[in-house]
Symmetry: C2
Subunit: 342 residues, 2 copies
């Protein structure tokens, strides 16, 4: 009798464990966005997926048309206090000067070599473009790729003591995966250099090189001493993938209008406008950095400080509210920011 009860108990326990297990699994499956707090922002994403992937929906979208575009800096990962790509270029200056010693005495290279942080912070946009051109071009595509990857493996962000590639926003990574699980192809559409972002996009975001639309410069086909062909990165600018350049870059590289677009600054305005101007259900979202404690707070919308990088003006904020674009409050909509934090 005891044995039988014990056995019954065991079986009940086993059954309960099984039920709990499957409930947990089903629970996990039912929330693809666990780092997003419940509320209208998260609901808008879930509704958009339902409206565009449910065959009975009047705004159903065929799978081949399911395109979602994401700005990178400030939308998928941290852009403050300075763009990662600019850090990379500054770090590369000594190497470039070793190969071209004539640059050592010329501005802005001598300022960068001086290591004077205040002076470096004051460099003009023109100076910055000179540095970008000198450090990102003039080498083979393969060499560029290998050097960018090497730098990304070792460089560390001083605030979080993490490689820059770990400073991605967990809620946005969940969103990328959620979209892809629903047949969307996810693209990066960034003002950053296309080849620089391609060096890590597949590993970091699961976004392959052919789905990275960035600021594009030319390459030049040629042959090495053994007659083996290779491509050299040229300083010639083909497309500045910012502002109006974003929809232009999208047309050039994708040839379709996105159904959903995500950004965080005035540089993304045209991409969001272009996306929303299409027929049917459209989703346009802007990440608003209002979380000084867990990340950064900047605008100048809503009275936040204007930090010049990733500018989110009050005008953009008002346009978003007027046009049904959704402003994501980092502080209120996200319960976690980074995967490395528990």
């Amino acid at each position: 009798m005891r044995f039988s009860r014990l056995r019954l108990l065991k079986e009940v326990l086993a059954f309960a464990t099984t039920v709990l297990f499957f409930t947990a699994v089903a629970g996990a499956q039912s929330d693809p966005l666990p780092s997003w707090n419940d509320g209208p922002t998260k609901q808008a994403i879930v509704d958009f997926i339902q409206k565009t992937t449910d065959k009975s929906s009047p705004t159903f979208v065929a799978q081949e048309e399911r395109i979602a575009t994401f700005d990178q800096d400030g939308t998928l990962w941290v852009e403050h206090p300075i763009y990662t790509q600019v850090l990379y270029c500054l770090d590369r200056v000594p190497t470039v000067v070793k190969e071209r010693p004539d640059l050592a005495k010329v501005e802005p290279f001598n300022t960068v070599l001086s290591g004077d942080r205040e002076a470096i912070a004051k460099l003009s946009m023109d100076d910055l473009f000179k540095i970008l051109a000198a450090t990102l071009t003039g080498m083979s595509v393969d060499k560029f790729n290998a050097e960018a990857k090497k730098w990304l493996e070792s460089a560390m962000d001083p605030r979080w003591k993490q490689p820059y590639t770990k400073l991605t926003y967990l809620p946005m990574i969940e969103l990328l995966k959620y979209l892809r699980a629903n047949g969307y192809r996810t693209y990066i559409v960034t003002g950053g250099g296309q080849d620089f972002v391609r060096a890590y996009s597949e590993e970091v975001y699961g976004i392959p090189p052919e789905q990275v639309v960035g600021t594009m410069s030319g390459t030049k086909y040629g042959y090495d001493k053994e007659g083996k062909p290779f491509l050299t990165k040229e300083p010639e600018l083909l497309l500045n993938d910012n502002n109006a350049g974003k929809p232009e870059g999208i047309h050039l590289m994708i040839g379709r209008r996105p159904c959903a677009a995500f950004g965080n600054s005035t540089g993304d305005r045209q991409m969001l406008e272009y996306t929303k101007a299409g027929d049917g259900a459209r989703l346009a979202m802007l990440v608003f950095h209002d979380d000084a404690k867990r990340e950064y707070a900047y605008g100048p919308a809503q009275g936040l400080p204007d930090t010049k990088i990733g500018t989110f003006t009050q005008e953009l904020y008002d346009e978003a509210k007027r046009n049904g674009w959704i402003v994501i409050s980092m502080k209120n909509d996200w319960n976690r920011i980074f995967a490395f934090e528990n």
Copy 2:
């Protein structure tokens, strides 16, 4: 007894029918390239697929790296006696002149309007570029797309009395499908206008707009009277996707080196070189138009006439033989050319 025999006979017949059916299905599956004659050319394709998709092969290629690029004119469809896109532009001249009457008295537009075929055939490349610029730009991307589609539905090739979109080579369509069935992503890499080819690539080849790399011109973002954004096609040339422009365009749009490349003229040389210069198993093929009866015969390689369109020089022929590129003889390697012919 008779009943039983009859029943046995029926069962045997049913079984035999089943066997025949499955044999037929298996037979169809075992030859994905029925329009290709057996021989070393067809075998090279089958071997390449085996070498790059069999996990036990030392030259196995991960699915994300499986990229195959195809020139269009003369490789996937007929390019003689004149490129389809040029025909389209010539046909559009009256419409353009209606909108811009000042062009009617200016060369080369007055020659085109005269309808004098001999004079039109003698127009220079410079004249042709003027016509292309005037007929392919200055309108919205959506309008361009709609007009190109409309023309393609009604225009007829005079020799075969078929729409131009039916003049695709059946063996190449089989090859596209065979590659895709084996995890390859198939791209068009064409000297033709990117947007023109995109207007039909999905329907005709199953190749979506984002997998069309062509000669690229800029677009300009703007707003209509209602404030709705749209893109206008600009005459500014971003990349001439011919010769060295092909590997450059591949890097820009795909960011990976193809494993297999297919062309038919000197304009494809660099794409094939670039493809073959990668590691592992590579496939480079050139369609050689040596079939005057069923299609056209031109070179000037192997003593065929030089028709100036799709030039296949003896030098290219020799380079192919030297480097292990495979020359497809239309006459000997293909048992059918077009799907509309039985």
